[in-house]
Symmetry: D2
Subunit: 421 residues, 4 copies
């Protein structure tokens, strides 16, 4: 039996709904943008908004429409290569660092591309009949989760683009701010135990969350909330960015090469620290979780605080008892918000949480067959796992077994710090 | 008496006319572009179209309106730095390689900026009274010639941007093609003589054309037209790009580092050689002048042809007897055209001609006072002089004493090859 | 109680013996070298032989003599910085990539330095009295293991230096070759079990092997010997270096950037494949273990072979039943040798074995106090664990819990491939 | 008739003498070196001493012995490639930046190589009979001048190597210092005139000094001595390294990229400025000529001093009236010395003088035939001409028409500043 990324068979009704919901959310994220904003690639990691719009569409065209509909005409012959991200099995992708060199296809062309693919996708979904089409439904479901991942990247990428502009444009100046006083940090203890980690349900999950398997957890304590900006300033005031003994060797090299002196998007003026957000340039909120820190900074902070980062399995165990989640993208806060008093955990939303686990396959891991096997497995090297989602993540995209991953020097995601010991 | 870039005092009527003419041509060049096209910087040498539109406007605001009109309010406080190209005396310019990171100000904002400055400039020009305002008129005249230079860069830059796109967009698919058979190359002899070179008239010229001075010319022969694509293919077929003995050492290093195998914008498909032009992708015309070659390629070709490149003074002497010019930008050919039969020289228009002269100051050279002194003089190092203008140059911008200059590896200008011996 | 790298208290007699033994072996390794050979740094990862000689001596001077002997005069005031490798707590180290710029101190100076430190060390060791000096003895023991690590690097570094020379000098042309027929590869099965891993004895170990802790092992099979050159040629013949689907994304990027087409030190001439060894240039032995492969190549080979690399704990479990070891440095073979028939495992010696485990701290890991805390812990990021030692490792340096680590692109160590599934 | 680098036919007796003299001086320069010193390449521009020893020998073997003596056996088959500097006609040279990766052939091997070639060369020279062997004698003469050029590079290269070493080794601590008070700077005026420049004699000259030709010189004034360290400090104290208006654009970019704040080899300690010399680390002598400045620094200094650099022809004209020369290498001062009072010019020796002339071919320039045609001509691009020799130049190597050339950013030669206006 072929291996697949997805196990659940979605009902066609749900799928049609979900399709419209996800595709519509992508469009909604573009509302505040001018045509010029869609085009810029501010660093190799960042993709232009227009590329995200086209690539997520390419996914459906390439993995659903072309293999399924014999009569289907691709919207444009050059798009197969132009909007391929990294699937070598599909062909030679257009080089990532050159995505920002393209002014054509225009935004309008890309919107037409989306409409063209949407029309065919909706028609196809309308004709799906289980159980025959289970595999197809599964691929469509992956496409939707894939698009949700790119929705988050659209936000972090446009934030980076805007941050390079001395005019400091605001993406959503009208977005609400959530304020509050961060409660005191408490520690929750866990005894040694063998737990089952990874996804064992029958809904959607990525292949990297499988197979569910047992692991032995050693006793540990877990912090009740994320580290705040105010606490991180304590690290800075104590010379955190100037003390090599607090850093991994590669981290210290990055501090010196990049001249890091504070988290990304912070700057200081006469009045004090300010932070560039998707809402615009703001005074730094000491109670909000620190974010846009690299793994190196998270690790150095933890060492300074006489603690460490949790492993991904400690996090997953703690997440089972999580209370109310923090801000997801639907809240339109677009920035991590202070932990609510009395809440347990601040585990989901607000900011991704760096774990001390490098991103590796689970025992018995099998990538999906075909090109989709390139989705996750080939990145299992020199990246660290992050857990829990952020203020830019869709609420129905995340789960406790979800494994996000970035290289340890990455800072442009909404990545924050959770302590364990 | 202060030193100035310009000597002629323009009559206000002329100036108003010229201002509208030049500024209008800039706008006309933008007609074929979509908003996305204004934003891209495809390499550090290239600037986004929108930047050219803003920078040429900044020039008038900075060097004319602000120093002259006490009540003038700059259009936007951030533009002084954002659209400064390289005038250190005006402040710290925004880094050139980052011009392509800006999506704001939008194209519409920049158009408003142009309109705002145009309004004040027209009003100011209307009030000019000689002789009192001679210096001011001179500065405005520089601003217009400056804008004409950027008009040419707008064309060469958008050509480079489009060439990076696998879709090969055409800037002006409707532009006319001029065809013809290149006449046989003839040699015109010149005896030894002392000639006066440089600008000695009372019209406009740049400071680098001054002072006019005498120089001793040795006997030489000068080719009757530019080298053609067909002739350059002969060099290629003879292993030109693989034979180090034909190249300067730095040129050979560039050939290997950049893997040069043909002029920029050529590519080969099953039918033969094609060339990407502002009119779109075309079959290579063997009778048209070769262009988009570096100094290194021009020099290697000349060595292969048992000739050499002319010095800039040989060129200037020969240009005194030039016949009808080739295509300027007004012809809307937008590509070098075959030499007309019987014409003398093909000296002006079509393609800039690399000379064997490094760009150095004339004896007694004095840069202009103030920030405008940075216009030319500080680039007098490691560049070679080009003469004669191109198909992207405005007809009233060029003259026989005009000195253009680029580093020897530059290929994205309309630069061609003239032989001497 | 202070944390230490070493737990065992060595008896002074042993220590004196060990000191002479280890220091003598370092000197013996230099016998085949000319003065010029000591000076070269062929890439940033490689250090000149002379630097290894001085740095291992610096270790004793810095961590033993200076803190212990109040009257001790450092041999040279500049050496503290010059021969510090990476201990920020000791001061600002001389930059690693510049080690090859130094012609002074000369080799003779460095030999004097060694003699000077040896004299004081021997005197000090002679005066040690347990239990009072347990900590000191432990530090000396670390220094000896440290020097053994550098002995291995001396060999891999000089091999790289010689390989850059078109003359292909042989380090030890007289070294013996061990030949044989590699036995068929068999698989040994292991059931699920909880095992204790890490060092739990009372001898010497590094801090990264502690604390011993329990871990849950899933069922697996383990290959009976290392992958051979002949088997690896099968991968190459099957397009292994040209098929992206076999590679991690970072690995495929390395293949393209570095143009990898075979293991390091292989080359092909008319007669077939040859391998550069410390014995000189030789015909490739198809029965010998493949070595000088990166993690990326090991991982790609395993995927091609429908297997995977073992985790470091699977390896450690399998190593408990290991049979006779392969070649260590004392065998003076200086290259991995074919597995002996009937032997179990080929676990120790011959070639380091890449595991699929990224190098991370064990649960409850505590780095040593003081500068020696920088020995291991700060490198726990983006490196993979290798196990088992090589033909360049001293026999008494290795043990089943020993964790070596290198970045996944490193190839200049004697690193080979063990399969699991 | 073939074109040649050299015109004079040397008498065999002279040649034998000269050969011994030049080759002997090379050997003498090595006396202060340890074996380790011969091996280091501290930057791509620098070659190891051993390479210079071998390459100058290779020149005689390749261009004299092999083509002349049918029975001659090359000393080693690999040396043809290994010690080829840049003669593509001879084959593919070993890459320049990798010269420092070679520990073999050893210094002793290279000395054997020299002896072997010397034996054959001496025998050959003994058998030369004019006029038949004129061409051969000319090639030998070039080889001797070539070796003299490398003698100077041996000194500037070992100085750079030693300067990278925190121990600051002295090459010749015993070399004499010449002290004195620099006389006041005076200006000598020259009227407009047509002069003949270039070499017109019948002795040796390089092809780049030919043909002698007439040129028109404009009126100018010429400074009576080189700029001193004390004067250059005035430039530094006046913010010279921080004021972009004083610099060429490329020069200002170099200042920022390289963080230049003073000439190469200067450093400041508590007592004041010090300069690293071939005699060791010394207090800066304010009366000595400033040296180890780039063209950019020379040009910026001249602009600051309201002067300019002379053209190479102005220099050549002024040199005709030069008084007693300064220190050449035979003086064993090994550093520029203060100008003698009353002397005219300080034109020769002490420090090379940057001119404002880019290095270009003379009208009618013809490179020599064959591989020796690569000696000079292919470097005529993006370099500036220096004149007059230095304290590291052999006295019989220099003449008033001699054209040295380096890129404008080069600082490791003994390059100083002469003013004109």
């Amino acid at each position: 039996m072929p291996r697949r990324l997805v196990s659940r068979e979605a009902a066609p009704t749900d799928l049609a709904c979900q399709y419209d919901h996800v595709r519509g959310h992508t469009a909604a994220l573009c509302t505040p943008l001018g045509v010029e904003d869609y085009v810029i690639q501010s660093m190799p990691d960042v993709s232009p908004t227009r590329w995200h719009l086209a690539h997520t569409t390419w996914f459906f065209e390439t993995f659903v429409l072309i293999p399924t509909l014999p009569q289907y005409q691709p919207f444009h012959p050059a798009y197969e290569r132009l909007f391929n991200s990294y699937y070598n099995a599909v062909g030679d992708p257009f080089p990532r660092p050159r995505r920002g060199l393209l002014s054509r296809p225009t935004v309008a062309d890309v919107m037409d591309y989306r409409a063209h693919v949407d029309t065919h996708m909706r028609e196809l979904i309308g004709r799906l009949n289980p159980p025959y089409d289970a595999q197809l439904a599964a691929t469509i479901t992956i496409g939707l989760h894939h698009e949700q991942q790119h929705q988050e990247l659209m936000l972090t990428d446009i934030k980076h683009v805007f941050s390079c502009n001395p005019l400091l444009p605001a993406y959503r100046p009208d977005a609400q701010r959530r304020q509050g006083i961060a409660p005191a940090l408490r520690w929750q203890g866990y005894p040694e135990q063998v737990v089952t980690v990874g996804y064992a349900g029958d809904g959607f999950c990525y292949d990297n969350e499988r197979p569910a398997h047992r692991t032995l957890i050693h006793p540990f304590e877990f912090a009740s909330r994320l580290v705040t900006n105010g606490e991180f300033q304590g690290f800075m005031d104590d010379g955190g960015y100037r003390r090599p003994e607090l850093w991994l060797a590669d981290g210290w090299a990055a501090v010196q090469a990049e001249n890091w002196q504070h988290p990304l998007y912070w700057r200081r003026d006469e009045q004090g620290w300010r932070e560039f957000t998707l809402r615009g340039d703001e005074a730094l909120d000491p109670d909000a979780p620190v974010c846009h820190v690299s793994y190196f900074e998270a690790d150095a902070y933890a060492r300074w605080a006489d603690a460490r980062l949790p492993t991904e399995f400690e996090w997953e165990l703690a997440a089972r008892e999580a209370g109310a989640p923090g801000a997801f993208v639907e809240a339109e806060v677009l920035h991590p918000a202070p932990a609510a008093d009395g809440a347990r955990g601040q585990m989901f939303g607000d900011a991704w949480e760096w774990t001390g686990s490098q991103y590796l396959p689970y025992p018995g891991y099998q990538p999906a067959d075909g090109a989709l096997g390139e989705y996750n497995g080939k990145f299992m090297c020199n990246q660290f796992v992050l857990r829990g989602g952020s203020c830019a993540t869709a609420r129905d995209h995340i789960r406790s077994t979800y494994r996000n991953f970035f290289p340890p020097q990455a800072r442009w995601q909404f990545s924050g710090i959770r302590l364990a010991r």
